[in-house]
Symmetry: C2
Amino acid sequence: MEKLQEELIREVKSIFSGHLESQAFRKTPERFAILEEIYKRSDHFDAEALYIHMKNQNYRVSRATVYNTLELLVNCDLVKKHQFGKNLAQYEKSYGYKQHDHLICVDCGKVLEFCDPRIQSIKDTMGDLLKFNILHHSLNLYGHCHGACEKSKAAMAVK
Amino acid sequence: MEKLQEELIREVKSIFSGHLESQAFRKTPERFAILEEIYKRSDHFDAEALYIHMKNQNYRVSRATVYNTLELLVNCDLVKKHQFGKNLAQYEKSYGYKQHDHLICVDCGKVLEFCDPRIQSIKDTMGDLLKFNILHHSLNLYGHCHGACEKSKAAMAVK
DNA sequence: TTGTGTGCAAAAGCTTTGCATGTTG
DNA sequence: CAACATGCAAAGCTTTTGCACACAA
């Protein structure tokens, strides 16, 4: 597990490095540190949480750099950005993970992931039909997690 | 057309009225005025645009009331709230329209609507599989509108 | 050395809240 | 008349920007 994570981190750093080079962007230690922390972290996080996390690790970074780097990482597909219905962007690492969508509990905010091939067919059909060159999509399902959290228990009971 | 719109507005006001009553919320003129303006307007708008629109019609309303009323209308399914990738909630009237999803041009922000029955199957399958009681969903496809706008023309040319 | 990237703090943009006043039930 | 809704302005929160300094190329 340790080994695999280290290798993954080396791999994404090399991809990021190539991307920065190709765009003539500079390879700063902050950018690589942020990438590394993201790939050490668990699935979903927001910009502020990442900033606090970096601070706690005693990195000297600013919010500006966190936001700037997140945008670079989104652009080279190493990180995905989501909006789960609130006015707060959520991010997740995306390299090495297969495409997936999200199921969000409206009661406790828990996020589950799922894959369904039918979404690809929808994209193909609609891109074709409406003459769009589709780049990406976002599919979120919202509901109660079947009594797994307190609020959902209450909601299901009312039903 | 005129007739139909008037009838629609009467209908949604009656639904809203019933909803307010059932929750013991007050029937204020502001709430109905906001509902009416929304149903007279075109498809997608944000809270600020609606506020400005109300002001221009010489209504005396505040942003607080606009936001408050929008939330009430979302709760009784007369209005839908969307986040098209930016940190700005977009709203649209939803009564009498069949369920649809959105295709957004990443270049010009244009929004098209589409329907696809496969999304319902995905919801059914996943709700079942992951033990979620699914209430609603949001599916957005992002891409270039095939050269219909200036920026998309450029993007397609590069390709 | 040169100009891009950074940290810091202030500003901006959307949304919510507090308070005094007005109005519904 | 009592409680809730409103208007207004201020505060809150996430994200962006301006500026002087640092550092990658």
